[in-house]
Structures are given as structure tokens and as C-alpha cells.
Amino acid sequence: MSFSDFNAPIVATPAEPASLSDMVDLLAKTGSLLLQHGADAGRVEASLRQMEAGLGIERIDAVVMSKTILLTATRQDAHHTRVVRAPIVGVNMNSLNEVEQLLGLFQQGRVTPGQLAVVLERIAALPHHYSRGVIVAATGLACAAFCRLFGGDWAALAITGVAAAMAAWVRMWLNQRRVNYFLVVLITALVASGLAGSALWLSQTPQSALTAAVLLLVPGVPLINASVDILRGYISAGLARATTSLVVFLGIALGLGIVIRLLQVQL
């Protein structure tokens, strides 16, 4: 479902935010929606600056870090500052795309600030395109494909697929319970490599299964965002993301390391 079609009326006439504090709330909502769903720091700041004219604000200053945005809006001689915490909820390209389309329309003046607030709420509540079962199966399939790319045989491919799918399910379950991210990585890595260890008896290429089954944990988007942030000069955001990724790799290495030590295999 897309909300990009604004020819249809969204609501009759939503109340227009008047005070500077309401405007800053709107900016905070937009910024955290972008940051939460995997936008890099430069993109978040550019999107916020894009809203200046439409909100009738002279100047928006934003400092974007890995999980926090500091923003100050200045209008005539009044200004308002907020600290926005945006806990990472996972990469969601659809939400990022919807917000970006909406901001484009807002900049063209085709959406009022009141409508913007309403649609932002709707985007935040948008369900995932794919059901949990589909996501689990897709993750298993992706890791199975990696196993094949690493030269695994068909038995290793099947084992990797099952192990990674089970691990993806365990990760979802742990994330819902708001377990600490390092523990989530460690437990998921133990599950994935433990199950993939069965390839030692069933496959000629057990190494490929062990290497590929934990790949669902590799923080691909945070890593790419980390180097994009650093390349664009958002050093603190980039370093924070890089450090988090390093800790995630430590968790993967620990989980996999324990399993290969127990099974006495060489990778």
C-alpha cells in the first residue's frame, strides 16, 4: 500500500500545527522515522533541512548521531531545541521511501504541515510488506545461496538454509523481548553454527555451511552507512556505527568460535 498518491484527500482538514514546538515535534518525528529505519546521517540532515521552507522556519540546525538527533529550529527571534532518541528498529526501505516521497511533495507545497503529520503517523504504523514466515524463509534462502557461493555441496546448502532460517526466527523472538543486542547476536550465532555443525556428518563441505549460516548476522547496512557517514564527514555517527558493527562481529566470532572448538573443526 502506498501513501504517495495525494490526489485522494487524506483527511478533511487536519489541524495545522502553529507553535514552534509543534513544528519541532514534526521534525523530530520525521528525523527519527528516517534514522530508525536505516538512513545515513547525511540523508537525515538533508531531509530535515528540506522542510525549512514548508514549515515557515528560518533555520533548522541538526546534529545527527547514530541513535540521537539534536535539532534546533529558529523562527524570527524565537528558537526551540529538542533531543530526539531514535532506537534502531531495523532496516525498512519501504518506510524510508515513503517518507522521502512525502517530503518531496511537502517541498512542492502539495501537502500541508497538518497533512504531513497525519501521513507520518500512518507510515510509522505501516505493517511490514512480508509476513514473518516469508522473512524467515528468505533469510534461510539467502544464507543457503552464500553457502553455494562458498563452494558448498547440496547437503551443505540445505543444512545452511534450515540453520539460518531457525536462527532468523530466534533473532526475531529475542528482539521482541528487547534482549541486549550483543546477547542477541551471540545466541543467534550459537544457534546458527550449532545447527550448521550437523554438516560435519552429512556433507563433504562442512566449512562452507558453518561460514555461511552465520552470515545473516553480518550488519551489512550499518557497515555501509558507517563508511558513508565517515566519507561525508559525519565522523561521530560513522564511528559509533562502526564500533557497534565491530561488537556484532565479536559476537559472531565468539558464538561460531565456541561451536567449532566443541566440534573440533578448522575453518
Binding site: I135, A142, V218
Partner: protein
């Protein structure tokens, strides 16, 4: 390797890379209409990296080449669908992320730190360092290559 063998290898690798790309795109909630394009870009870029590497190029520079291809194709599709290019770039980028190098680097460092003496285990540290360097630079070049075509396009468009 003969031409036919190389072609078969590239098609195989590209096909499996497409599967991996679609899997991760689903995880990242990429809309359905974009999935076939993601799969195609993923296959082409992974095949390009494999071809460059079998031609003797190292992983770091070969990844830069593949990433530039992702960036160019994603920018073109972004113009066509009037959406952000990252929609088409994120999925295909994942198979190029050197994930196994990165955790092998960390694993090697843990093993080297755990070893009682450096002398017979120095090899561990060297391998870990090599894996770590490859992983870090590959990721840097990957993101640079993906971002560059979009930046050039915007700069060029502002010019006219």
C-alpha cells in the same frame, strides 16, 4: 580457464547472488515491484566482481568496480521510478559485503590474544590482520562505489 568455463561460472555465481540479494531485500522490506530489479543488479554486480577477480584483480578493487555498477544501475532506476536509489542498491550490496573476512579477522585476533606466546602463533595474527584489512577496505570502497554515481548525477543535473 576457457571462455565457456568462465561464462558458466559467472552465470552460476550471478544466479546464486541474485537469490541472496532477494532474500536480504525481503528482510529489508523492499517493495515487491523493486525485487526483480534488485535481483538483476545483484547478479550482474557479483558476476562482474567474479570476472574481475578471475582476471587477476584483488578483491578490494574488484568490489569497487562492482559497486560502481550497482550505483549506476540504481541511479538510472531511481530516475525512472522517481524514488531514492538506495531502494535498488541495498539488497545487491549485501552479497559483496565481506562478512566472513570480518568475523574471521575478529576470530583470529581472539585466538592470537588467547595464545600463551606469540612465537609459534604469529601466523594467526598475520592472517587476522590480513582478513581485517581486506574487510575494512572492501567495505569502504563498496560504499564509495555505490554512492559515487548518485553524487555525480546530482552534481551534473544541477549544472544545467
Amino acid at each position: 580457464m576457457s571462455g565457456v568455463e568462465l561464462a558458466v561460472l559467472l552465470i552460476q555465481k550471478g544466479g546464486w547472488a541474485a537469490v541472496a540479494t532477494v532474500g536480504f531485500s525481503v528482510l529489508f522490506n523492499v517493495p515487491k515491484y523493486a525485487l526483480p530489479y534488485c535481483a538483476l543488479i545483484g547478479a550482474l554486480s557479483y558476476a562482474l566482481r567474479t570476472a574481475l577477480m578471475s582476471g587477476g584483480m584483488g578483491m578490494v578493487l574488484a568490489t569497487l568496480g562492482a559497486a560502481l555498477l550497482i550505483g549506476v544501475l540504481a541511479t538510472i532506476l531511481a530516475q525512472r521510478f522517481a524514488v531514492s536509489g538506495t531502494l535498488f542498491a541495498v539488497g545487491p550490496a549485501i552479497p559483496l559485503v565481506p562478512g566472513s573476512y570480518a568475523y574471521k579477522a575478529v576470530m583470529g585476533m581472539v585466538m592470537a590474544a588467547n595464545a600463551p606466546e606469540l612465537e609459534p602463533h604469529g601466523e594467526l595474527l598475520l592472517t587476522a590482520l590480513d582478513n581485517g584489512l581486506k574487510a575494512t577496505l572492501t567495505i569502504l570502497f563498496l560504499s564509495l562505489g555505490i554512492a559515487l554515481p548518485g553524487l555525480v548525477w546530482t552534481a551534473f543535473r544541477r549544472g544545467d
